[in-house]
Symmetry: C2
């Protein structure tokens, strides 16, 4: 099985200012213990701890390579969190797609009658796809690691949450997750929490709302060339 995620993770670690933290992020995301990981890599557990604590600031790529391989291999053997297929979740994710030609966030918003809630963040940012998520069902169905499935081939996408009360939980979930979308859209939200906006700002995510209902929204999204 081919994992574009392999490169994604490796790249993220390699470019991270704090590679240790990034390593930890992914390890925890996959619910793997240091001890387990260490065994798979055939090193002592303290090595993992040392890396994650930042004792080595510029690990070599050999280390990265073995780390990523071990992470993914363990995940496949045990949880298989990553290798599950999307299809089982069609009720949680009623629609998603990636375009190959990114469109501007501003243009995307216009298509869905969206109103921006965050200021100053530039609307020329590119959006390469979208995912519509039923946030209620998501909470009950998906566990933390399942959130990976929300991201298609690109994380530079718009996540459209339906069934939003205050918009808190979605943003918190995003905050907690290693992959960040370019934009978050609340579909007919009852209210918008202050905290949600703050979090969006912190993460550099465009936050918007639309009053279209889910059916109309999806229909418009799917009409996008």
């Amino acid at each position: 099985m081919q994992f574009p995620l392999r490169e994604k993770i490796a790249g993220e670690i390699a470019l991270s200012e704090q590679p240790g933290k990034t390593m930890r992020k992914w390890r925890e995301e996959l619910r793997i213990t240091q001890t387990d990981l260490a065994h798979h890599m055939r090193v002592s557990p303290s090595v993992i701890s040392d890396y994650e604590a930042g004792r080595r600031t510029s690990p070599g790529i050999k280390t990265i390579h073995r780390l990523v391989d071990a992470l993914l291999e363990i995940d496949q053997r045990t949880g298989q969190k990553l290798s599950k297929r999307f299809e089982e979740y069609s009720d949680v994710i009623p629609s998603m797609r990636d375009w190959s030609v990114g469109m501007r966030a501003g243009d995307f918003l216009r298509r869905i009658d969206g109103k921006l809630l965050t200021q100053k963040l530039n609307t020329r940012r590119l959006v390469n796809g979208y995912t519509v998520i039923d946030s209620i069902k998501a909470i009950t169905t998906l566990d933390a690691t399942d959130y990976l499935r929300i991201y298609g081939s690109t994380s530079e996408r718009a996540l459209c949450f339906t069934g939003v009360k205050y918009g808190r939980s979605p943003m918190i979930a995003i905050k907690a997750h290693p992959l960040k979308p370019a934009m978050v859209v609340y579909v007919q939200p009852e209210n918008i929490d202050e905290l949600a906006m703050k979090l969006a700002d912190l993460e550099g995510i465009l936050l918007a709302r639309t009053e279209l209902d889910q059916v109309e929204l999806i229909s418009r999204l799917e009409r996008i060339a």
Copy 2:
């Protein structure tokens, strides 16, 4: 400007068995000299040469980080090979798209009445998108680095070449390029060269042909959910 390519390149180097070769591949792809790169990284040119020659087998991520940044920065300042937009090329690339849920290569082929030319390569390989390319126009319009644009958000895609005579040049171009597609489809080719098949085999790429004309092909492709 956000570059998913940054991570892609970093990840590729990090996971490469011969990181030096991968570094060189990208540097040459962007037409940057060792000397130039070295200056930007504020190291002596011999350092670059040493890396590329493989004298260091496991460079640290700090090195990778600076390398990738330098490559992309130089490209932006000078050639801007990577930062050009897709849109200018609508005649060369009449259609392209990524799906977020990959489909099996075999299923893809069935959709377009494709016949596999390579054996043994498994048709269960996932295809995440496609690009239709007018190979004649491509030759005259795109230079080597422009080929990057052919790949959308994923390289695990099918490249469908129209206007193919022998199918040689497209495979050679692919051979020469760092990114490889999962599949190559020749649209109404006049003939199929032996060499093309050999190259496909070597690169682990599925090679296929279809007798649909471009209009019908694109219509079928765009009908895919």
